[in-house]
């Protein structure tokens, strides 16, 4: 088992390095000068040429790119993400403050997607080709096609303005996470429901299901113990990648629902060409992607015994 785990880690290392390189150069390539922006932040003062250069030297932005990259990497390994160029806030503190918000949002969206996705998928597979199946299929397609921000505006208009049930924004405990996570997960519920339906149906036609029913096992027993576990294998990979994806993708939702998460933080950073924040963010999401990959492999390893036998994936 450990052997397999190490093999995966080694294979994911170059990916992580690739992500750091991509993150580093993503920032540098974009036009606009963050130093000038940060000095004219209050919209009133006008920095002179000398002041701008002095600050740029101070931040080490005038060094050749590869040296900047090396400095950045060994700073990052020590856990110091440096300060934001725009308002020289300590990036690590800012991220630690914002990370739990995005994690809570991402995790609640993830839970909703898994529960709803698998639930609907299973129902569709069980009631295959009935009216319910067709209705649910259309519902999934519809859920995938509604833009997130439209859904957000409509939900706010209904639940906050008319019925005063849910807070429109802010961080007042669980209530303020209901609408955002619902909107964030809606698109993926549609996709994951369709995926699990395909997989469940695929498994139903397999030989071992015939054998199990020939043994006199009940439909529900076969469903839970036999089909579910087999169908889960490809679905885990989908959910794993989805979880890594949410972190980057919730910027719009976070700005609408005024949740101080990573998404809106990085969008502002990109507006202000705040290289250090962009690099830190992409590095973070890259690391989480790599970690979630490992997590998927571990879960995969546990659920799919074929792996234990050392078969190559």
């Amino acid at each position: 088992m450990i052997h397999y785990f190490l093999k995966r880690v080694i294979s994911l290392l170059p990916v992580w390095i690739g992500i750091t390189i991509f993150a580093f150069f993503l920032g540098l390539v974009s036009p606009g000068d963050p130093v000038y922006l940060s000095l004219t932040r209050d919209g009133i003062t006008e920095p002179s040429e000398a002041m701008v250069n002095a600050k740029r030297a101070e931040l080490g932005l005038d060094l050749p790119y590869h040296i900047q990259y090396v400095n950045w990497i060994n700073r990052v390994i020590r856990g110091d993400f440096g300060k934001s160029i725009y308002d020289n806030e300590e990036i690590k503190a800012e991220m630690l403050r914002r990370m739990p918000v995005t994690l809570k949002l991402a995790f609640s969206a993830f839970v909703i997607t898994v529960v709803a996705g698998l639930g609907i998928g299973a129902v569709m597979a069980a009631t295959r080709d009935t009216i319910l199946d067709r209705f649910l299929r259309q519902l999934c397609t519809l859920m995938v096609s509604i833009p997130g921000f439209c859904m957000a505006i409509i939900l706010i208009a209904i639940f906050s303005e008319c019925f005063h049930l849910l807070p429109t924004s802010g961080m007042e405990g669980v209530k303020s996470f209901i609408m955002p996570s619902l909107v964030l997960s809606m698109g993926t519920i549609g996709t994951s429901a369709r995926l699990s339906r395909s997989n469940f149906i695929g498994e139903i036609s397999k030989q071992y299901v015939l054998v199990a029913s020939a043994k006199g096992m009940s439909k529900s027993f076969i469903g839970t113990w036999h089909i579910f576990k087999n169908a889960m294998i490809p679905i885990i990979t989908f959910f794993g990648l989805y979880f890594a994806g949410i972190l980057g993708g919730s910027a719009v939702i976070e700005s609408i629902f005024a949740l101080p998460g990573m998404g809106s933080y990085v969008i502002d950073a990109i507006y202000n060409r705040d290289y250090f924040i962009i690099q830190a963010f992409v590095l973070l999401t890259g690391t989480i992607y790599v970690l979630s990959n490992l997590l998927i492999d571990m879960l995969y390893f546990l659920i799919n015994p074929r792996m234990k036998q050392g078969d190559s994936l």
Partner: protein, 312 residues
């Protein structure tokens, strides 16, 4: 007290998207308890469909008419719950390709214990003991170790024996085997024969073996039913049917075996148009009468029947 399986006027059709395909056409047959009956026929003869319909294991699109009495119960009329009780407990099934018959992500032990716990709701430890006994009986030296493992860790032969045990674990009075020798090489074919011999000694005499392998059937079975395009063309005592066949199709089949020089059955000997006998277009002994006269299964002597006007 073993019951016979009596099937009367059984017709099975599949309602596919565009058209209805008929697989079994007006079959009347009785499988006697305590006897191994071989159902022989080529691909598309409906033998598997007939066998599977007994346990109602056909896909949803199949529509079955006629009756299939198992003792006093008509299996076709049973509701899902009572049918479930019969499966595994009274009629066991051994499926076709052994390597895909077991759930790859669940240990063999658990899959074998499931029916015991479900049907007789015995405790887990007791179920485990019975399974171990069966495993030992089928030649597995270390039953405990095997129960931890998974089907992909087993060889073809071992998997065969496992699915046999799976079918027999609840000591059903009847056993249906669907194409046990399909695509197997010589060694495995022989080991499957030993497995059936084992079953015959310790478990049950009443078996239906569906196969296209004539010699395997000849060696194993006592009674043989030959099917062609959904109809039964000949029934008889195994040795007799496969050495001195009556129906032209059975004769053709035997001539086509490698031992008999592999002479093929001609495809379009006589111009075929609506004729009563389905084998008319490929039959050497075809005559004008065959086209006109309605042919049904006639009894020549107590346990041989044939569907051909030659024997009127």
């Amino acid at each position: 007290m073993h019951y016979d399986i009596q099937m009367a006027d059984v017709t099975i059709e599949f309602a596919l998207k565009s058209k209805r395909v008929s697989a079994v056409d007006q079959v009347n047959v009785t499988f006697k308890a305590g006897k191994i009956t071989g159902v022989i026929g080529e691909t598309g003869s409906g033998k598997s469909v007939l066998g599977m319909s007994i346990l109602q294991l056909l896909p949803k699109q199949a529509c079955i008419s006629g009756t299939c009495f198992f003792g006093h119960k008509d299996l076709y009329a049973l509701d899902a719950e009572s049918m479930r009780k019969i499966r595994g407990q009274e009629i066991g099934l051994i499926v076709q390709n052994p390597n895909e018959a077991l759930n790859p992500v669940r240990t063999i032990g658990r899959q074998l214990m499931e029916p015991l716990i479900k049907h007789f709701d015995v405790s887990r430890t007791e179920a485990r003991k019975t399974v171990e006994a069966h495993l030992r009986c089928f030649g597995f030296e270390m039953p405990k170790k095997v129960m931890q493992q998974y089907t992909f860790q087993m060889s073809g032969g071992m998997n065969q024996r496992l699915i046999a045990i799976m079918g027999l674990i609840c000591h059903p009075s009847w056993l249906i085997a669907d194409e046990p020798t399909k695509g197997l090489d010589a060694i495995l074919r022989r080991s499957i024969y030993d497995v059936f011999w084992e079953i015959r000694q310790h478990y049950t005499q009443s078996m239906i073996v569906i196969t296209h392998d004539l010699f395997f059937a000849k060696k194993l079975c006592e009674q043989i039913v030959v099917m062609y395009q959904g109809e039964i063309v000949e029934i008889g005592e195994a040795k007799k049917v496969l050495t001195t066949p009556l129906h032209p199709y059975t004769k053709g089949l035997l001539m086509a075996t490698p031992k008999a020089g592999m002479t093929p059955i001609p495809d379009h000997l006589n111009p075929s148009h609506e004729s009563r006998c389905k084998f008319y277009s490929r039959c050497q002994f075809a005559s004008a009468k065959c086209k006109v006269q309605f042919v049904e299964l006639r009894e020549i002597d107590p346990d041989t029947m044939v569907r051909c006007i030659l024997y009127d």
